[in-house]
Amino acid sequence: MANEKITSRRKFLKTATVLAGATIGYTWLKSSRMLLYAAEPKDETLPWYGIVIDIQKCIGCGSCAKACKNENDVPKEPFFFRTWVEQYTIKNDGSVNIVSPNGGIDGFEQIIANEEIFKSFFVPKMCNHCYKSPCTQVCPVGATYESPEGVVLIDEKYCIGCRYCVQACPYGCRFIHPVKKVANKCTLCYHRLKKGLAPACMEVCPTGARMYGNLRDKNSDIVKYLKEHTTQVLRPHLNTGSKLYYNGLSSEVR
């Protein structure tokens, strides 16, 4: 009689421990998904911002890069850019020439003669506001994050300046502000978005090559555009969850 009691008690303890362990293990595993994904859009009422850049419309005027520096108090020296424009020239011999003089702010002069050019185009670059952002993943203190609207932002009061995020961004979007001495990058003009205004670069683009919008809204211009055009992101093999979609992206672009 006593032995049965002990065995059944042992059995109960065993099952209880297994169940408890499994529950703890499951909750731990669920939270460790954090390792892979930086954020999931939780608040359905907020917009989930995406960006489209149409390469065929970009004329390399540099208005976007200039406006960004004006709007966001970025030093005018040619070493810090929240957004910039590159010019790719593929010559007839197959070589690829890339330039970005002062980020394209002063425009581009054609240096290579027409006869040598196979094709040439401009590629505006900016923060891709990734939703599996590697820069957010590596920040050791939580000074960079994805806002509930899907905009990757920096907490300038918390950043310790370790520069890990700058190393982790595959697109070269981040830099250390020379005066503030913390990380800095394109914020999609979050301070303008919150007031219902367009980001500065999109406001001034003369050809409408830059677009932004709410990816959740099926009727928004951006979603319609994505439906009607074939778009690509940069470095898709790195699985960054980039929300910057390029139309007309040529295979030479990195």
């Binding site: 004006n70 040439s120 000074a143 994805e146 406001e203 003369p206």
Partner: protein
């Protein structure tokens, strides 16, 4: 309460065994250190940290604070309706005012001429309109600035808001 009773039982079981004198002393020293750390952490951690994720939620407000410099062209149109009308009838209709005139919020607020940029010169128009193999002809009308009316300012003939309405 539950945790404390578990702890007490644990100590009672331990008391049955011989514990070398190093262990309680070390446990005490580490206990003090960990407690100090946890107390410090409680006071140092920012208030809004962790609300939406692993970041200081108040930073969202910080990021919404910076001053605006660009007003958006609707702000321009509140005063300059005549230009709005002219522009809408010609090829520069899709171009926003501040693309050429630079950040305009200061001017919207003060109304003064000095607070906004008035572009001039061939190089300025040339940023968009000069020939470049990378510009698609469908995206922008291009002209050879080395040949077309050298020495003259573009806006001497072209009204920048209505470029095809030539000035006499």
């Amino acid at each position: 309460m539950f945790l404390i009773s578990i702890y007490v039982i644990f100590i009672h079981i331990l008391m049955k065994f011989y514990i070398p004198p190093q262990i309680p002393r070390l446990a005490f020293a580490f206990g003090i250190f960990i407690t100090l750390f946890l107390v410090l952490r409680h006071f140092l951690i920012p208030d809004t940290f962790g609300k939406y994720g692993h970041y200081r939620a108040a930073s969202l407000i910080d990021n919404a604070k910076p001053e605006l410099h660009y007003a958006g062209q609707l702000a321009c149109f509140t005063c300059h309706q005549d230009i709005e009308e002219k522009k809408s009838q010609d090829v520069h209709s899709e171009i926003h005012c501040e693309t050429c005139h630079g950040p305009g919020l200061k001017h919207v607020v003060s109304g003064k001429k000095e607070d906004i940029f008035k572009p001039s010169g061939r190089e300025f128009c040339g940023k968009c309109h000069s020939f470049n193999a990378a510009k698609m002809k469908s995206a922008v009308f291009q002209i050879d600035l080395a040949k077309h009316n050298i020495g003259k300012n573009c806006i001497e003939c072209h009204n920048p808001h209505q470029p095809w309405q030539m000035k006499k």
